[in-house]
């Protein structure tokens, strides 16, 4: 018999990646930031995917995937990042490497492809992603891109994202490395005039928002808030950004970093290179929006700006509060499970759920680091399970054992929740409404309400029709029919349980069988 020491039954090597919230001051005994275990069915993708999700929202760029067709095909327009102008990024470009390219090298095809794309689309920048195979056959991406840059007089930037060379986080880094090359030295820097270390009274304050990808138009709900405070948002990286707006990023006085997992690396570089400090921020939920605006006003230090920020927060909060309260009444006390790509979104969701009166019972990420999990552990209640790089079986068992009412995650997780009869909210690429800003939070609250309070969950509790159970209510009809019924009589009313057992699990070893069925063991 296998010993079931862990929180869920899983591979021994996976056990260190699942733990519970720790008492204050204790370090979290959670393994993380490692390559996924073979055969464990990680929900993670690869280095290329990390790079692609970060860069793809750059709207006027040609995103050319140097590799076989699959890598480009599966990532064609899968991120709902909106553009206010050109939408070159929504097309999928590939060198479609064939066997012959693998044998003789794909360099020639790549450089021809770049020439062709420049002629057809006249893009201001081309990102060239390398895939697994490029890393193996050794095409010299850098040299080809350099030559193409010179020939066409536009940046043609290699993104070193060979799928196997690390994990998704390494892809974020590869993307940031490409972005770095797009950022131009600001005019005053060229003149040799260094910016002061801290600039409390900047006349025309400018910021960048790092790590907002404008999914469903999020950025468009955030930018106006800063503009009302008298702050110019130079660029949001990378949601609704262009080669030009990115190139101006170094003119900013401050960077606000939302998706910390992908963008802290770039923020640190900009601090070192251009002396631009950064603050972490989130624009999801009333508490975090307030924090973001106040922190920013505090940084610039102007009384007027602080006052304006308070005004914005008061107006916004008052405006949405009736609706939030209404939803809160309908969802409070419900239990949420969070499984996100990055830790920043997971952390801000904890607060968001608290604002709706819900508690978090499971929280996990694909790419969290030790310090992220420390903070997560600090932010959640006792008993909450924390998991790194979870797989479908672990998630399914956790959802049942932790009695979750709702899961927030992406497409692959959606159907696990649905099959278990658990509500779901997509906080990834697939959503079509904004979740950030005041109105975004209303959208989120409504979606949570719509899923949790849908009558379908009541319906799916009874998964097989039991006519005998129905008949009990309608004895009158039966009596009017003459003759013997054909159906066999059911003796035990207790046999007619209407809810599947696994919806009320015991925490013992039998749970596994209840969740996954005896047959599959």
């Amino acid at each position: 018999m296998k010993e079931k020491a862990g929180i869920v039954d899983t591979l021994e090597e996976r056990q260190p990646y699942i733990t519970r919230k720790q008492e204050k001051g204790q370090t979290i005994p959670l393994a993380c930031d490692n390559n996924s275990l073979a055969g464990a069915i990680s929900q993670r993708a690869c280095v290329y995917s990390g790079a692609r999700v970060v860069l793809n929202p750059v709207t006027d760029a040609v995103h050319l995937v140097h590799g076989p067709i699959g890598c480009a095909g599966y990532t064609w327009d899968i991120r709902g990042a909106k553009s206010s102008g050109i939408e070159t990024n929504r097309s999928s470009f590939s060198t479609d490497m064939k066997e012959i390219d693998v044998i003789f090298g794909g360099e020639k095809k790549l450089s021809n492809a770049i020439d062709e794309l420049v002629g057809l689309y006249h893009p201001p920048v081309i990102f060239v992603y390398s895939t697994c195979i490029v890393g193996i056959i050794g095409d010299d991406l850098e040299a080809i891109c350099n030559t193409a840059s010179q020939n066409h007089n536009i940046p043609v930037l290699p993104v070193k994202s060979e799928g196997f060379k690390g994990n998704k986080s390494d892809g974020y880094k590869a993307a940031c490395d490409a972005l770095k090359k797009l950022i131009k030295i600001p005019p005053k820097e060229v003149a040799g005039e260094k910016k002061p270390e801290v600039s409390p009274q900047v006349r025309n304050p400018k910021i960048n928002i790092l790590g907002d990808f404008n999914v469903a138009g999020d950025v468009w709900l955030i930018k106006p808030l800063f503009e009302q405070m008298g702050i110019e948002v130079i660029v949001s990286m990378t949601g609704d950004s262009t080669a030009k707006s990115i190139s101006r990023a170094a003119e900013a006085d401050l960077n606000l970093v939302q998706c910390s997992g992908s963008m802290t690396y770039l923020a640190k570089w900009m601090q070192k290179e251009y002396g631009i400090p950064y603050l972490s921020a989130s624009f999801f939920g009333i508490e975090d929006i307030s924090l973001a605006l106040r922190k920013t006003a505090e940084y610039f230090g102007s009384k007027e700006m602080k006052k304006k920020a308070e005004e914005i927060l008061e107006t916004g909060t008052n405006r949405i509060m009736p609706e939030i309260s209404r939803v809160r009444e309908r969802v409070k006390g419900k239990r949420a499970a969070i499984y996100m790509g990055g830790p920043a979104k997971a952390l801000t969701l904890i607060k968001g759920f608290a604002e709706l009166g819900m508690e978090v019972v499971i929280i996990g990420t694909q790419t969290g680091q030790k310090e992220d999990y420390e903070q997560i552990s600090y932010s959640v209640r006792n008993g909450t399970v924390i998991v790194d790089d979870a797989n479908p079986l672990e998630l399914a068992e956790l959802l049942v054992k932790q009695k979750a009412d709702l899961m927030v995650a992406g497409v692959k997780e959606r159907f696990i929740a649905y099959k278990l009869g658990i509500a779901f909210c997509d906080f990834n690429h697939d959503r079509v409404v904004e979740f950030e800003g005041f109105d975004g939070f209303v959208n989120f609250a409504r979606e949570v309400d719509a899923s949790i309070n849908s009558p379908v969950w009541k319906a799916v509790r009874q998964r097989t029709l039991k006519p005998e159970a129905m008949e009990l209510k309608r004895a009158a009809v039966k009596e009017r029919i003459s003759g013997e019924p054909h159906a066999k009589e059911y003796k035990n009313v207790e046999d007619m349980a209407v809810e599947p057992e696994f919806l009320h699990p015991n925490m013992d070893a039998a749970t596994e069988n209840q969740v996954f069925g005896e047959a599959s063991r």
Partner: protein
């Protein structure tokens, strides 16, 4: 047309490993493992989950840099071990990716080694069967990946039988092997037809349950359903094999014929009148069974509907695209209906495709001149659509950009369908499926051309000058 020689814009095919999953997932109690980097499995799971709206678990050997340099042997073995430990499958389909192929891993040898180490034998009754297939992403397309995986499956059982293959025990069954992945609803319909005619049949691969699973009292780790091991092992004993699809080569069917002498015949996927007639005729030929009244009635209903809609559809210009055999059968049906398929295209590279399509035009409507393209991407399809100016598009959901941009309606058929629900339940085969498709096409055209429903002036104010309601009634 935009002349492009080196770059593919908006692909119309997916890669080989994905096709292999569509095949393997139709076998009972089977897990799939991609030997390659972690992303391949995640991306393809996403793609399939999106389409079928089901959980799709596919394992990966999660090759890292170390694996890529020193070989993926240990990762593959570990992956297999972990999959067995957690999922306890009866079969594991191992498909390679470009990475595994290029670093030169000898997958069959690694699997042999693994089996020795773990004491796994070749007895399908008690041992886990590990089937490997070589499906580098840089070769052909998902269609070939699917075909190769099915061949690998029947081959595997042949290998296991070894010397015993000479002894055949005729089972009187029919092997039914589609050359492209059909929808779960299509598979269900064909099985129903077979039950009413051939009675004894083996359908490979049967995704009718695995990719369209009902909500159950439990959540099985591996979705129930699929062709059983014993059925696959029994395929060499069958009376005949019937392949669905005539453009792509049906390697599994050919293998059963060549190696075991099971007579094989391929017919078009039964979409439309003549293709379905063909299908039933083959069943009658093989089994001498009568055509059940139910299907005669369904055929009659299809004919009745074809007559009902013939004027709506005559001369309607259509562009159809997708996997080669699906497109072939859809084109046949449209020609039968009097439609004018101006553009017939497939993403797969196929010499036979153009030939077969032109042949069917010659047979049914020799006066029409279609544009026939293979190996297209959606960018070149877009160019072709602008040249041909169709009234309707028929194909998978990736054509939605073209449809929206040109304000041409799109009837969704095939894979992927990511922007609408019910992809797993789209029925196009048999008389019943053809009828459903016919209704969808016709209603789509009616919806698009319906300008009469909204009166110019919606308010009854127009009647005001003609007196009150009471006066009118007098």
């Amino acid at each position: 047309m935009t002349k492009r020689s080196y770059v593919t814009v908006n692909p119309c095919i997916m890669c080989q490993p994905m096709g292999s999953a569509l095949a393997f997932k139709g076998i009972e109690n089977t897990m799939v493992l991609y030997h390659g980097s972690q992303g391949c499995s995640t991306y393809m799971r996403l793609h399939l989950a999106h389409h079928f709206r089901e959980p799709v678990d596919i394992a990966s050997s999660s090759l890292s840099e170390k694996g890529a340099v020193y070989g993926g042997r240990e990762n593959l073995k570990k992956g297999l071990r972990n999959v067995i430990n957690r999922y306890n499958p009866k079969v594991i389909g191992v498909a390679t990716t470009c990475l595994a192929e290029t670093i030169g891993d000898d997958v069959p040898a690694i699997i042999r080694e693994f089996k020795e180490e773990e004491g796994i034998g070749d007895d399908p009754e008690k041992d886990i069967i590990i089937i490997s297939v070589s499906t580098p992403s840089y070769g052909e397309s998902h269609v070939s990946g699917y075909i190769k995986a099915l061949e690998a499956v029947v081959r595997k059982f042949a290998e296991n039988q070894g010397e015993e293959r000479a002894i055949k025990i005729p089972n009187g069954k029919l092997n039914l092997i589609p050359v492209e992945s059909l929808s779960p609803a299509d598979v269900r319909e064909i099985k129903e037809i077979l039950e009413a005619t051939a009675e004894n049949y083996i359908f490979l691969p049967d995704i009718s349950e695995t990719f369209d699973a009902p909500l159950r009292d439990d959540l099985p780790k591996i979705a129930p359903g699929g062709t059983s091991i014993s059925e696959i092992a029994d395929m060499p004993n069958s009376r005949a094999s019937l392949g669905l699809g005539i453009v792509s080569k049906n390697l599994a069917l050919e293998y059963l014929e060549g190696y075991y002498g099971v007579p094989g015949q391929s017919v078009p996927i039964p979409i439309g009148l003549s293709n379905t007639d063909n299908f039933f005729t083959e069943l009658v030929n093989i089994f001498g069974c009568p055509i059940p009244d139910k299907y005669q009635a369904e055929r009659g209903r299809l004919l009745d509907a074809m007559v009902d809609v013939h004027k709506y559809l005559y001369g309607v210009k259509a562009a159809v695209y997708g996997d080669p055999d699906l497109v072939f059968s859809l084109t046949t049906f449209m020609l039968e209906l009097g439609m004018h398929p101006v553009l017939v295209a497939t993403g797969s590279k196929s010499r036979d495709f153009g030939m077969k399509i032109r042949q069917i035009f010659k047979e049914i409507r020799p006066e029409l001149e279609p544009m026939v393209l293979d190996g297209i991407d959606f960018d070149s399809l877009n160019d072709a659509v602008s040249d041909c100016n169709p009234d309707i598009l028929i194909g998978n959901s990736n054509g939605r950009y073209i449809a929206k941009a040109r304000d041409v309606p799109l009837v969704r058929v095939g894979l992927p369908i990511h922007d609408r629900v019910g992809a797993q339940r789209i029925l196009t085969v048999g008389y019943k499926g053809s009828l459903e498709l016919l209704d969808r096409i016709t209603n789509t055209i009616l919806e698009a051309t319906d300008t009469f429903t909204a009166p110019v002036q919606a308010e009854p104010a127009a009647y005001a000058s003609q007196g009150t309601e009471e006066e009118c009634m007098e």
